[in-house]
Amino acid sequence: MDVLDLSRWQFGITTVYHFLFVPLTIGLSVLVAGFQTAWHRTGDAAYLRMTKFWGRLFLINFAMGVVTGIVQEFQFGMNWSAYSRFVGDVFGAPLAMEGLMAFFLESTFLGLWIFGWDKLPKRVHLATIWLAAIGTNISAYFILAANSWMQHPVGYRLNPATGRAELTDIWAVLTNVTTLATFPHVIFGAFVTAGAFVIGVSAWQLARRREVDLFRASARAALVVTLAASAGVMLSGHWQAQIMTRQQPMKMAAAEALWEDEASAGFSIFAVGDVENGRNHINVQIPYGLSLLSTNTLDGRVEGINDIQARYEKTYGPGDYRPVVGLAYWSFRLMIGFGALAGLLALAGLWFTRRRRLPGTPWFYRIGVLGIGLPFLANTLGWIFTEMGRQPWTVFGVMRTAAAVSPGSDVGEVATTLIGFTLVYAVLAVIEVRLLLKFIRKGPEPEDAVHRDEPALPALSY
């Protein structure tokens, strides 16, 4: 492996890992704020106990998102210095805005929320969790604006003298149509993730008939959120697919293993392809499906890999402009599959728990627990698809990944950091999951305890 491969693996591993925690943080922050709001409105202690129970799990997860996020801020400079020099004028702005507008907000107000239970008026304390939740959502917008610029660069010009991309219109970058479609997709995905988490944990407790009222209420709220958010994921995903067909036809073609331009293209369910010769051996399709998905018409024309390759060679010069087709194809398919499954589980869960019912069969709860994994798989596969599907570009049509890597770094150094981050991340993952399990097993605090201060912070602590 050379420096480029190692740097790509490092970016992939650290980013996928970071994004295991981020969606749960985004979704759970709002759910916890919602529970606390319900307590504030009704005065019902059950909601306070829910706030504290889910809030603790949220904090365990949040810490991991924060510390792995530090690496994200610096690794562009570390491993991708050529990229940083080239795009910094454009790409740095949303990153700096994210720090100034979002990171300060979430970290400061979360500190106030954790330690402020007995120091702030109730209403102000409620506001702190909402501000932290808003901060996490704003953060997502800016980083997605930065990523969307890599998918579909807008609002810039290439300066021939310096050979760098230069920002010409910040509004164009912040209102990039790619951002506008990606943001809801990611946020709805985050709500599905948090919803499935709350459903799964509640299912585990309900299977043991522990705190039935509390976890039934949690599960019902999460089921509704998950179902609604799944619908949002599908709608925004559909919009994204249409944008992708226009902006990055190669990615769409690879996602569908569509080799030649085709009108009335079918949506592939299962294909075995021959990348070498640019064709499929087997391809099971839903007729007209792809044309409908990408153009909203049955006979819309969708471009195929071989034809796009020929066109790109004319535009960009000789080279291989195809991503790894098998990876794009399966990550796209499995993302949709796992995501849809999460939505269906939520629908089924709502049905089986209607009118205060609680099924007696253990498998019902077991499926609920297993369902936690579905959105995590879908999120991960979605990012692998969208990033790997853009290859060989790092900025689509403008800069190739091979040209983006730090020219000065050597294999030994990058291998050291790759191994170092991976090992530390692996150990932390084990610790984090064990801590989550510990507090899930422990269950909510008894009713008389929640009115006191956080147990970690004894009353009269000053």
């Binding site: 400079g77 050529a82 910094g88 004028d89 990153l95 300060f104 400061t108 920002l167």
Partner: protein
């Protein structure tokens, strides 16, 4: 004022904020095994920074983001060049952050306390090494890529810089602990402040003196004097039991140290050993349009951030008492 000057100053302000605020977080971590004799005391020490450490660390992230936006060449050269030291800092900040959040939730705190200690000591030392190298200059080629190795960064001057920031931040943690605790813990923190204060005065003084003689910027003699006076002031105030003044005096010293470093740097942002390859505020900067946009963003949001962070310190202004 040129926008490149504005952004040089803003980035200096962000690093100053980071060192003043996370400086005492680091110091508390370094002093944890010495001041906290039992679990209750160590718990009190971590709670003293619990509500604010994460917000303090964001100053670093924003300094990084602002450098990326305003001086992309600086960002690219610095973080690709100082690759392994930065990697160590990142690892330290990761385990330290997790330690701070997980220690109170875990059955055993021993491992977390080790992580907190080393995760504080490492960056407190390495930031000094990094800044000493930035100010002294490093080998860069015509494309501004760093051409040296790890050992080129570990010169005696750079190690002195590391020792200086370590002593200064440890002193900062000691005066902060004296300000935020009561009883025995406070007494031990004040004793620690006396010793680390002397170390900071000697090491910090030597480092700034060498820096000053090397860069030769006339204006920064004033900030060197302020830094020395600040540390001395922190010592005197500690001896007189004026914890608040001691903290403010040392905060002023840290501000003065950062001013000296950035003052010695100007108008370079990353001097090269061959001056023809140096990165300056001009050749490292983004376009005037980008700097203009970012100036508006900073002008609107920096005061807001300062206001709510200041309010946080007000909310958690009281001293903590060890409860067993």
């Amino acid at each position: 004022m040129e926008l490149t000057t504005v952004w040089f100053l803003l980035i200096a302000v962000l690093w100053t904020g980071y060192f003043v605020l996370e400086g005492f977080d680091f110091g508390v971590g370094v002093l944890l095994p010495f001041l906290g004799r039992d679990e209750a005391e160590r718990g009190t020490l971590t709670r003293a920074i619990g509500p604010v450490w994460d917000g303090n660390e964001v100053w670093l992230l924003v300094a990084g983001g602002a450098t990326f936006a305003a001086f992309p060449e600086w960002y690219a050269t610095l973080f690709s060049g100082f690759y392994l030291p930065l990697f160590l800092i990142l690892l330290a900040l990761i385990v330290r952050g997790v330690a701070l959040e997980y220690r109170s939730k875990s059955d055993s705190t021993r491992g977390w306390d080790h992580a907190f200690f080393w995760g504080s000591l490492g960056p407190a030392f390495l930031w000094g090494v990094a800044f000493a190298n930035i100010v002294r200059g490093v080998p860069l080629d015509a494309r501004h890529e760093y051409t040296g190795g790890l050992l080129d960064l570990l010169t005696p001057y750079a190690l002195l810089g590391g020792a200086a920031t370590l002593a200064l931040f440890t002193l900062h943690g000691a005066v902060f602990t004296a300000l935020k605790t009561t009883g025995e813990l406070r007494e031990r923190a004040r004793t620690a402040a006396r010793w680390t204060g002397l170390a900071a005065l000697v090491l910090g003084g030597a480092f700034l003196l060498v820096t000053q003689l090397m860069t030769g910027a006339a204006g920064t003699w004033a900030s060197v004097a302020v830094a020395a006076a600040g540390i001395a002031g922190a010592l005197v105030a500690t001896l007189r039991g004026r914890d608040g003044w001691a903290f403010l005096a040392n905060a002023a010293a840290i501000v003065a140290v950062t001013v000296t470093l950035f003052g010695g740097l100007w108008p370079d942002v990353m001097p090269a050993l061959d001056p023809a390859n140096s990165l300056t505020v001009h050749n490292a900067a983004s376009t005037p349009y980008t700097l203009g946009v970012m100036t508006w963003v900073a002008a609107i949001f920096t005061p807001v951030v300062l206001a709510y962070q200041a309010w946080t310190y007000w909310v958690f202004r009281r001293r903590l008492t060890v409860t067993r």
